[in-house]
Structure formats: structure tokens, C-alpha cells
């Protein structure tokens, strides 16, 4: 069976002069550079979200803590959730979508490169829009879930929640645009022979995630439109005096919110499913089942939303139905865990930092999964929901799952992204401190929750039997921060001066490892022809691609797209300009209370601005005529 091997890998990529400098970053439409932008931006927000978490834990270290005021605490926990969900984990996944999907399916770029850039700029500017208020103590304070009627003008008259409502709308635009883009890319930009069932599992999980985004975000958009109209135009959607039902918000929010959970975790599952086979020297166990379970998780994810609402009194039938559908999800999720174990079974496990994070995901996510099953049972959930038990649960899922998976992906793909390895020694510090820190932070929360500590409380009395657990959690946060610091130092140092990496430094099986590290702007000199699921591994026999070394590839010259006569999209500033116009238009709404004329003026100016940008964008061809 003909197997694709690395078309001779190169190390010194010829770079066009137009591809350097600040302007090139502002105008780039290259999915790889956009991926890098996502990565760096998301990590900055991750640090901000982490510092917010640290302040929260500092306040809770001892009973009746005096570090923060109640209002500041409320702003911080709201922004911690909002930041981590929308500005850190989702965009970190997006960094990998951007960088990897075209490489994994053998494409030149995404289907709509400028739309891709637009998504990024909207995300960046929207992220700044929603984050800046915290520095002026006017950040959103209604929780990341923004439950009505607390989030309405009647109970949150200040500007705080306006930032949240508008910011989330803005970020939704970014996610939706990206989803349409990636769905089209995965459907239609696959290299010849890249059948759906030959696609790398990360691309598969991303594919599922894009559908979840495309179907879940419209729902939150509408829920937010209602809130926006209530706040700005005096409509009655959540107005208690008009007889509104606040459960409308909760249902709409969780119809979005539960798929959102899978939007956060599935990319990490995908990354780990790439890392484990490579470092086990074995193909992924049960690839089709892994694919189908991902699809099933995504589909079922739309039918379980009300399990976030077992305490609202939906009645026994609804509780029972949603309880059962929720339990069902445990099956495909469990299958994934067992298949990962089976992938490693009988393998030759090589414990790089990437592998360690990947294996840790299997161990840690399992804990989050089991506690998840515990509150799929409504009566038990009545003692667990809105307590620290839930906080423990979803941090095992989101930190032990999503973040560990993303870190695994980062260590694994860093050589491909930058052409350099991340340091294993610093990485080990990062990993072990994160593992210890996260368990120290979140495991005690199981106890504090079941021992009666409600969530979102800025202080608690002494003598409630939860002091020790809270102190442990706070110490854990310090360890976690230290670990993250090692990770960041590692990233910084390795980017500048890490050991040079070859095209396939791990001996990995998929086609992104056939091209130089970092890849040339056109990705593939020639579109690869795919004949199997692991093109670089001969699965019939025992020959598996060995790690290539930098030395053996040194000295070869990669031709540029221009030299090869490959048409590349032109850089364009229009995505950035259009995105800025969109944000400007939304920011006008902030003034509806204080100065209606100003508000309308800004909104019209913003609309004209982005429509002009879009017009220019649409009339400029993506590529030069040839």
C-alpha cells in the first residue's frame, strides 16, 4: 500500500518580505498566522482570567475575608467565568482550529480567509470591550449566566451588565462566522482522498464543535437580544411586572449553554486523540467509535439543557426526562475514555510533556465525568447544584479536561507552529505543578460543597467546617499559578530560542507532519493525495514513521508560493476595519441611557463604517487575477 511520506522536509522557509512586520499581522489572512494570533490573545485572556480567579480565592482563603468588597467579588467571579469560557478556552480551541484544520485536511487555507481574519479581530476587540471595565470596577456582575431578572435594568441599573450583553453579542458574531467558515472548509477543502472517515480525529471533533456553535449561538443571541431590548428599549421579556417568566431566559441560556460545554471540551478530546496515538506508537483505538461518539455527544448535547435547572421546579416528568438524557451522554463519553486507555494499552508510551498532559486529561476528566453523573440525578443534584461541588465538577472538566487537552496540544504542535520545541524541563515543572495545583484547588471543593458551601458567596462564617477546604483550595491556586508561570516562561523562551524542530519531530502519522516546521504560507507544495487514515504510518505492517531530526533536514530550501506559482490570497486590512466598525456600532448602545442622540449617532456611524468596510472587502478579489 502506497504510503505518503514526508515530501522532503525543509527547514529554512523562504519568506516573502511582505510577511513580516506589524502591518503584515494586521492584514494577514493566513490561517496559520491567525491561529498564532488566537493563541497569544487567548493566553493573555487566560492569564487575566487566572488572576481574577486568584483574587477570588484570596478572598475566600479565610472566613469573612477582607480582600475584596462584595461588589468587586461579584464582578470578578462573573468575569472569571465569562473570560475563561469565551475569551480563553474557546479561542484557544480556535487557535488550533485555525492552525490545524487546513493542515490536517490538506488544504491551502480555510474556505474564507478574510472572514477568518474578521472572526479573529471581532474576538480581540470584543474581548477588550468586555474586559476593560474590570479595571474601572464597572465590570459585569450578574454572573456569566446572567440570570434574568437580576440582569435586567430593574435590578442591575448600572452600565455593568450592558458590557456583558453587548460583549457577548459581539463575541457571538466571531464564533458564528468562524463556524460557517470551518464547516465549509472541512466539507469542501479536503485534499483528494481525504474521506470523512480518514480525517484526523481532531478535525472531526472540530467539525462537530462548529455545528454546535452554529446551532447553539443563535439561541443565546436571541436570549441576549431580548435582554438588550429590555435594558435599552423597555420591552417586557424578563420584566417581572408584566408577568414575564424568568425561566425563559434560563431555558434559552442553557439550550445554548449545554452545547457550549461540549464546544469547550470536544476540541481538547480531539487534541488528546492525536497526542496519545503518536506517543503510544499505536493508532487510535476504535477510530469510528470515537467519531460517532463525538457526533452523538454533540447531538445529545442539545437534549439535556434543563439538567442545569433541576432546582427550578420543572416538575417530576421533565426532571426525569432530562435526567435520563443526561445519563445517556455518559455512555459515549465513557467510550472515549476506554478507547484512550485501549490506545495506550500495549503501546510504547513515551512521556513527553504533551503526553503527560494528555494522560492527565484521561485521569482528571474521569473525575469530572463521574461527578457529572452524580448530578444527572435530580434529587442528588438538589444537594449539589449551586454549591462548590458543582464548581469542583466543572473545573475538573474544564481545567482537568479542556485546559489539559489544550496544553497537550500546545506542547505537541508547538514545534509545528514555531519550528522549535518547547522545553521539556520547564514543561515538566508546568505539568506537575498544574496537576498538583489543580487537584489541590478543586478536589477540596467537593467537600466544601457537600458540606454546605453555596457558590458565588464572597464571604462565609467561621465555624462552618469548611475553613480547611477553602484554605487548601487557595493554596492550590497558588501552586496552579506557579505552574502556569512556568508554562508561560517556557512558551516565551522556547519561541525565541527553543531547540529547532524538524518536520516530524514526534514521528506522528498525519499529514500536517509532512510539511516543514513552521509550514510555508501555502502549506503544501502539492495537494497531498490521501490513501489512509494515518498517511505516515503503514498500518498493515509494522513500519511507523520515525522521528525526523532537524539535522537531517537542514540546508534544504523551501520555495515560496510565488516561486511555485501557487496563487495566495492577498493580505487585507478590511477584516480589521469591518470588525472595528462592528464593535464601534455596538459600543454606541452603551450610551442609550445617558445620551440617546449620541448613542444613535455612534450606532449609525459604526454601521456606515462596517458596511463601507464590507463593501470594499466584497469588491476586492481575494486573489490577484491570474
Amino acid at each position: 500500500m502506497a504510503t505518503l511520506v514526508a515530501a522532503p522536509p525543509y527547514t529554512s522557509t523562504a519568506t516573502e518580505s511582505a510577511n513580516t512586520g506589524l502591518w503584515s499581522w494586521l492584514t494577514t489572512v493566513d490561517h496559520k498566522r491567525i491561529g498564532v494570533l488566537y493563541l497569544i490573545t487567548a493566553l493573555v485572556f487566560f492569564v487575566i482570567g487566572g488572576l481574577e480567579a486568584f483574587l477570588i480565592r484570596a478572598q475566600l482563603a479565610v472566613p469573612n475575608g477582607q480582600v475584596l468588597s462584595a461588589d468587586m467579588y461579584n464582578q470578578l467571579f462573573t468575569m472569571h467565568g465569562t473570560t475563561m469560557v469565551f475569551l480563553a478556552i474557546m479561542p484557544l480551541s480556535a487557535a488550533f482550529f485555525n492552525f490545524l484544520i487546513p493542515l490536517q485536511i490538506g488544504a491551502r487555507d480555510v474556505a474564507f480567509p478574510r472572514l477568518n481574519a474578521f472572526s479573529y479581530w471581532v474576538y480581540l476587540l470584543g474581548g477588550i470591550f468586555i474586559t476593560v471595565p474590570i479595571f474601572f470596577s464597572v465590570a459585569p456582575d450578574g454572573g456569566w449566566f446572567g440570570y434574568a431578572p437580576l440582569s435586567t435594568k430593574q435590578f442591575s441599573p448600572q452600565i455593568n451588565m450592558d458590557f456583558w450583553v453587548l460583549g457577548l453579542q459581539i463575541l457571538g458574531i466571531s464564533s458564528l462566522a468562524a463556524a460557517f467558515n470551518f464547516i465549509t472548509t472541512i466539507i469542501n477543502m479536503r485534499a483528494p482522498g481525504m474521506h470523512l472517515m480518514r480525517m484526523p480525529i481532531f478535525t472531526w471533533m472540530s467539525f462537530v464543535v462548529q455545528f454546535l456553535v452554529a446551532l447553539a449561538f443563535p439561541v443565546i443571541t436571541i436570549a441576549l437580544v431580548f435582554l438588550q431590548f429590555d435594558r435599552f428599549f423597555g420591552t417586557n421579556f424578563y420584566a417581572i411586572g408584566a408577568g414575564a417568566d424568568p425561566l425563559l431566559w434560563q431555558h434559552l441560556f442553557w439550550v445554548f449553554g449545554h452545547p457550549e460545554v461540549y464546544i469547550l471540551i470536544l476540541p481538547a478530546f480531539g487534541l488528546v486523540s492525536e497526542v496519545l496515538p503518536t506517543f503510544s506508537r499505536k493508532p487510535l483505538f476504535g477510530y469510528p467509535v470515537m467519531v460517532y461518539s463525538g457526533i452523538l455527544i454533540g447531538f445529545l448535547g442539545f437534549g439535556v439543557w434543563a439538567h442545569h435547572m433541576f432546582s427550578v421546579g420543572m416538575g417530576p416528568i421533565a426532571d426525569a426526562v432530562f435526567s435520563l438524557t443526561t445519563m445517556l451522554i455518559a455512555i459515549p463519553t465513557g467510550v472515549k475514555i476506554f478507547n484512550w486507555l485501549a490506545t495506550m494499552w500495549d503501546g510504547q508510551l513515551r512521556f513527553t510533556v504533551a503526553m503527560k498532559f494528555g494522560v492527565a486529561l484521561v485521569g482528571m476528566f474521569t473525575i469530572g465525568g463521574i461527578s457529572g453523573v452524580m448530578h444527572s440525578s435530580p434529587p442528588a443534584d438538589l444537594q449539589q447544584t449551586d454549591t462548590y461541588f458543582i464548581v469542583a465538577h466543572f473545573h475538573y472538566v474544564l481545567f482537568g479536561g479542556s485546559m489539559f487537552g489544550l496544553f497537550a496540544g500546545l506542547y505537541y504542535y508547538f514545534p509545528k507552529i514555531t519550528g522549535r520545541f518547547m522545553s521539556e524541563s520547564l514543561g515538566n515543572w508546568h505539568f506537575w505543578l498544574s496537576l498538583i495545583g489543580m487537584n489541590l484547588t478543586f478536589f477540596p471543593m467537593h467537600f466544601s460543597g457537600l458540606l454546605g458551601m453555596p457558590r458565588r458567596t464572597y464571604q462565609y462564617d467561621a465555624g462552618q467546617g469548611i475553613e480547611v477546604f477553602n484554605m487548601l483550595s487557595t493554596i492550590g491556586t497558588l501552586v496552579l499559578m506557579l505552574g502556569t508561570l512556568f508554562g508561560l516562561i517556557n512558551l516565551w523562551k522556547s519561541w525565541k530560542s527553543g531547540e529547532r524542530a524538524s518536520s516530524n519531530p514526534w514521528g506522528a502519522p498525519t499529514i500536517e507532519w509532512t510539511i516543514p516546521s513552521p509550514p510555508p504560507e501555502h502549506n503544501f507544495d502539492e495537494l497531498p493525495k490521501i490513501t489512509s487514515r494515518y498517511p505516515l504510518w503503514d498500518l498493515k505492517g509494522t513500519v511507523i514513521a520515525k522521528e525526523t531530526t532537524y539535522a537531517e533536514e537542514a540546508g534544504r530550501v523551501q520555495l515560496s508560493a510565488k516561486q511555485l506559482g501557487i496563487p495566495m490570497p492577498n493580505p487585507s486590512i478590511m477584516p480589521l476595519i469591518t470588525a472595528a466598525g462592528v464593535i464601534f456600532m455596538f459600543s454606541g448602545m452603551l450610551f442609550t441611557d445617558s445620551n440617546m442622540k449620541l448613542a444613535v449617532g455612534i450606532m449609525i456611524a459604526g454601521a456606515v463604517w462596517w458596511i463601507a468596510g464590507l463593501y470594499n472587502w466584497l469588491l476586492t478579489p481575494l486573489e490577484d487575477a491570474h
Binding site: I183, A214, V219, V225, G234, N236, F237, G243, G565, I566
Partner: protein, 228 residues
């Protein structure tokens, strides 16, 4: 074991700048269908909200029942005007018919046209104009309906029915308005240089959007107007 590859640079030379695609389909068409799928959820949320709040308003006016304000003693009729909306529904349905003819006209631009019928059917300008006009007429009906309601005492702030009704139909109206702008821009291109069969995909995605807006109205008309 040698690398098996496709001539990639070949795509550029091959078609008219058309890159290789897996399915041979136009990316834009896949994207618009994805977008339409997403819009299904958007309108499902809006329609759900309308239905959830139906009958929950604590004061009138109401869609299908007359109501007397206990405070002012003022009497309000049932607010929805079925004959007018039936007419606008009909107009929107027929605009879809015009749109599909416009697309066919663009696709068949290069076919010889002999009879008057063929010439009429082959005029993309005519059918785009018809679609635009009927779309605009629908918006006119909606503007009439909205102002009549406001005159009668139902605004978006009045009650739950007002909020959910105006938001649902307003969102639909906004979609129609975007569609009308889109179609006018196609008309502008048609006048400037003539829409060619090579533009068919451009017209096709606009048409898909337009029809989708139409089918949403089919649902809204039945659920909001006809079912009490």
C-alpha cells in the same frame, strides 16, 4: 514509497482561478446553507418565545381577543388583521416565485430566446425587479401593520404579546430588508454589466436566503396569525 500527490498548482491553470474543492461545490453555497441551518435555531428561539408568552400577558391588547382596559375603560379590538396579513403573505410567496424565475433567467442567460414568453422568462432584470418590489411591498404591509398597532395602543413595550410579537416579526422584517438590499445590489450589477451564468452562484445564494425568509414567514403566518 514515494509521495503520491496531485498537481496542485494545476488548479490555477485549470479553471478560471477555481481552486480544488472536495465536492466540486461552491464554498459560498455550502456556507449559506450552514448559515440557513443556524438561522433555523434563531427563528426557533423567537417563535418559541412568542408561543411561550402567548396568553401570558397580564393586560391587553391581545392578538385574537378583544379587551377592555379595566383602568381607562377603553375597548381594544382583537389586534391582528388577518386580511391585510393574508395579502402580504401572498405577496411574499409570489416574490419567491419571481426569485426562482430570476435565478433561472440568469442561469439560462446564454440560451437563445425566440418567443415573447422566452424573452420575458429570460429577463433577469424583470424578475429581480419583481422580487424586489414584492419584498418592498411586504415591508410596506409590515410598516402599515406596525403603525396601525401602535395607533391602536399596542407597542413593543405594552405587554408580553407586544414585545414578543414585534420582536419576532421585526426580526423577520429585518431579514426581508437585508434581502431586498441584497437583491437591489444584484440588480445594480445586472444593469452595470449584466448578470451572466457565471454569476449564477451569486444569485443562487441570494435566492436561497430569500426563499428561507419566505418559508419562515409561512411558519410565522400560521403560528402567529392563524392559530388562536
Amino acid at each position: 514509497m514515494t509521495a503520491t500527490t496531485l498537481p496542485a498548482a494545476g488548479d490555477a491553470a485549470h479553471g478560471h482561478g477555481h481552486h480544488y474543492t472536495t465536492l466540486g461545490l461552491d464554498n459560498r453555497k455550502i456556507a449559506i446553507w450552514t448559515f440557513i441551518g443556524s438561522e433555523c435555531m434563531l427563528f426557533a428561539s423567537l417563535i418559541s418565545t412568542y408561543l411561550v408568552y402567548k396568553g401570558r400577558s397580564i393586560k391587553g391588547p391581545f392578538p385574537h381577543e378583544p379587551w377592555t382596559d379595566p383602568v381607562s375603560g377603553k375597548a381594544f379590538p382583537a389586534i391582528l388583521d388577518i386580511p391585510v396579513t393574508s395579502a402580504s403573505t401572498f405577496v411574499l410567496l409570489m416574490s419567491s416565485f419571481a426569485m426562482v424565475l430570476a435565478l433561472a433567467a440568469v442561469q439560462n442567460k446564454n440560451l437563445p430566446k425566440v418567443t415573447l414568453g422566452e424573452k420575458i422568462l429570460g429577463s433577469s432584470k424583470l424578475w429581480l425587479w419583481m422580487t424586489c418590489l414584492m419584498g418592498t411591498a411586504f415591508l410596506g404591509f409590515q410598516a402599515f401593520e406596525f403603525t396601525a398597532f401602535i395607533r391602536e395602543g399596542l407597542s413593543i413595550r405594552t405587554n408580553l404579546f407586544g414585545s414578543s410579537f414585534f420582536t419576532l416579526t421585526g426580526f423577520h422584517g429585518a431579514h426581508v430588508a437585508v434581502g431586498v438590499c441584497w437583491l437591489f445590489s444584484l440588480l445594480a450589477i445586472d444593469y452595470k454589466r449584466g448578470l451572466q451564468p457565471s454569476d449564477a452562484t451569486n444569485v443562487d445564494i441570494a435566492a436561497l436566503y430569500w426563499h428561507f425568509v419566505d418559508v419562515i414567514w409561512i411558519v410565522i403566518f400560521t403560528l402567529v396569525y392563524l392559530i388562536k
